[in-house]
């Protein structure tokens, strides 16, 4: 199956600053992928590269097997919801839907009209007067009504209140279930995405720190508590360690069973895992963060 997004040694610089540094990654199609990373990790840059708004400074990126933004055919296959859900404030909601019809050959007008009706949006209302949640829903409706094969959403819920957040993600899940579209959505908080995504990519300082199936990631990370010691068996990698007195708490990654009876093994949340990777990358320094710690899946 063709990957949703595949990058080979992609770098993207703005002036002297590099937003992405030799990033090589594969984001599978047919999944709901969470792209997580702290602010400035390069999430927006990666998504803008994927939708053709930007071109890589070096390296190659392909989306659904095509070069992004190569032409209208490629544009038609990818739906994009940009950060802060841009709309045209002076145009009415109905104008946006009409524009969608004019600008997209596969536009699903029936879906768009129904969706806007279900959301209770007045088509005569100007988009500039919508609430943040309504604007995000309108922008999502437009991205979905385009009938793309891949839907990219950049921080779609970051500016929404908890209720709007829940409603937005609910709409998204209905769409995914209804249309079988591949989704990549970014956030700096894993908690936003945990409920909806089944695949995770952690991007830190322009490099992939962790990527894999959410269930595999959960199954391969453990929190160990026990007496302090110097070494662990081969196949167990420490992601984060803290010591209080002679007592150690370790977050480790392993696909092997843990036999050592000295350890108390507790399950660990996805949130903790992601935070541990972020902390590890920060402590290791931006420059030599270990690239591509991919979990076998």
């Amino acid at each position: 199956m063709t990957a949703a997004i595949e990058t080979v040694e992609v770098s993207k610089g703005y002036g002297r600053r590099l937003a992405l540094t030799d990033t090589t990654m594969t984001i599978p199609a047919g999944r709901v992928v969470g792209l997580v990373g702290p602010n400035g990790a390069g999430k927006t840059t990666l998504l803008h590269l994927a939708v053709g708004l930007l071109r890589p400074t070096s390296g190659t990126i392909s989306v659904l097997g095509d070069t992004p933004g190569a032409g209208p055919e490629t544009l038609a296959r990818v739906g994009f919801l940009a950060q802060d859900s841009p709309v045209y404030p002076r145009l009415r909601v109905g104008d946006h839907l009409r524009a969608g019809t004019w600008l997209n050959p596969h536009w699903d007008g029936e879906f768009a009209t129904r969706r806007v009706g279900e959301l209770g949006l007045d088509t005569r209302q100007r988009a500039g007067t919508l609430s943040g949640g309504q604007r995000a829903q309108l922008a999502l409706t437009m991205a979905v009504a385009k009938r793309p094969e891949l839907l990219l959403l950049d921080e779609p819920v970051a500016s929404l209140d908890p209720l709007a957040r829940r409603e937005f993600l609910q709409t998204l899940m209905e769409v995914v279930a209804g249309h079988g579209v591949s989704v990549v959505l970014s956030s700096h908080l894993i908690a936003d995405l945990e409920r909806v995504c089944d695949y995770l990519v952690v991007l830190i300082a322009g490099r992939v720190a962790l990527s894999g199936d959410v269930d595999d990631i959960r199954a391969s990370h453990h929190l160990l508590t026990g007496p302090q010691r110097d070494s662990l068996p081969a196949g167990q990698t420490i992601i984060e360690a803290s010591h209080v007195g002679r007592q150690s708490t370790l977050l480790i990654r392993t696909t092997d069973p843990i036999f050592d009876p000295a350890w108390t093994v507790t399950p660990v949340t996805l949130d903790d895992i992601v935070l541990a990777y972020m902390k590890q990358a920060r402590d290791a320094g931006v420059a030599d963060a270990t690239p591509g710690l991919a979990v076998a899946s």
């Binding site: 803008h48 544009l75 802060d84 009409r98 969608g100 004019w102 600008l103």
Partner: protein
């Protein structure tokens, strides 16, 4: 994309054409009245002879509208460039809506070409209708205007070129600067600079001018001049046939070269000693100095002698070239506008990546 470009520019287009319609009504009513006044005051007097009184009575009508229409037509290209061109792309980049526009199923090149064509086309039509209205309104006033070159930028086809250029310049600067207000300000600055540059340094060299040699005895202005205690010099200015654009009027020697200040001063020293050493000036506005006896004769003798030594060379563009200059002005600014449009296209499709 065409329909979307229309949708986006609908409000500004409708507002402009509503204002233009109001202007056209005002111009129609007063323009017809002006025609009647022209018939009464100017055309009838032409039969009888002396027209000066009739003409000045006629040209004093609608003084306010004359100024307003002229100002409007001179400002309109800049305003269209600032308010239509400047925000065209800058606002999309500044507000972030370009991320919505460029991810629909429309390539960026088609997006930019359509926007430039639709809104730019509207701007050209708007400028055309405006200059048509004002030129029509001015037609009887212009028919007795001896100096049409003075209003060449506010009549006929030139304003269409200015508008096209101003719009494309605004779009280009908006794409490059990416902020609406600075782009609008830069558009005004660059546009005014280019207009002045063309007027001052390009237009005079577009066609080689005609020359006319006049005798000093037949020029209107002949006299002497001395500034800051320098020796007294001779000065004479000729006037060309009616309606031309006079580029220069120079005093030339019989050998054909332009008389230098030293030559002119030497002439005065030699042939007009009475003028060269005038009595010291002791008066003031309330104490006029009496002319020394015999100065009138000395002046005439001096002029007679000067006519044998010097001629006045007038360099000018004849009135008959007015339309050539109109088309050249239009062509220059259309070409500049196309360059700006091309750069804008290149910048949006290649540089904003």
């Amino acid at each position: 994309m065409t329909r979307f470009a229309w949708l986006q520019s609908r409000t500004q287009t409708l507002a402009f054409f509503a204002a233009l319609a109001a202007l056209a009504v005002a111009a129609a009513v007063t323009g017809v009245h002006l025609s009647h006044l022209y018939n009464d005051l100017v055309r009838h007097c032409e039969v009888r002879g002396n027209c000066q009184l009739g003409i000045s009575a006629f040209t004093n009508h609608y003084n306010f509208l004359q100024g307003a229409f002229m100002l409007l037509l001179r400002l309109a290209p800049a305003l269209i460039g600032i308010f239509w061109g400047g925000p065209l792309i800058a606002r999309e980049l500044e507000a972030g809506s370009y991320r919505l526009a460029w991810t629909q199923t429309v390539s960026r090149r088609r997006w930019v070409i359509t926007k430039l064509a639709i809104v730019g086309g509207t701007a050209v039509v708007a400028a055309g209708l405006l200059t048509l209205t004002v030129t029509w309104w001015y037609r009887s006033l212009d028919s007795i205007d001896p100096n049409m070159y003075g209003v060449i930028d506010a009549r006929d086809v030139a304003p269409i070129g200015y508008t096209f250029f101003a719009f494309m310049l605004g779009a280009l600067l908006g794409a490059v600067i990416k902020r609406t207000l600075p782009a609008m300000a830069a558009t005004l600055g660059v546009f005014v600079f280019v207009r002045i540059a063309v007027q001052q340094w390009v237009r005079p060299h577009l066609l080689s001018p005609l020359h006319k040699t006049m005798s000093i005895l037949s020029v209107k202005d002949f006299g002497f001049i001395s500034s800051n205690g320098a020796p007294v010099e001779l000065t004479a200015r000729g006037s060309s046939p009616p309606g031309p654009w006079e580029l220069s009027s120079q005093l030339v020697t019989s050998s054909g070269h332009v008389a230098t200040g030293a030559e002119r001063a030497a002439f005065v020293q030699h042939y007009c000693p009475a003028v060269a050493a005038p009595p010291p000036f002791r008066g003031g506005p309330s104490h006029p100095v009496a002319a020394p006896p015999g100065i009138r004769e000395a002046f005439d003798t001096c002029q007679q002698q000067a006519a044998k030594t010097f001629h006045v060379l007038v360099t000018y563009q004849p009135a008959s070239r007015y339309w050539t200059f109109q088309w050249l002005e239009l062509g220059i600014f259309l070409a500049l506008g196309l360059v700006a449009a091309g750069l804008c296209f290149w910048w949006v499709t290649q540089r904003i990546r």
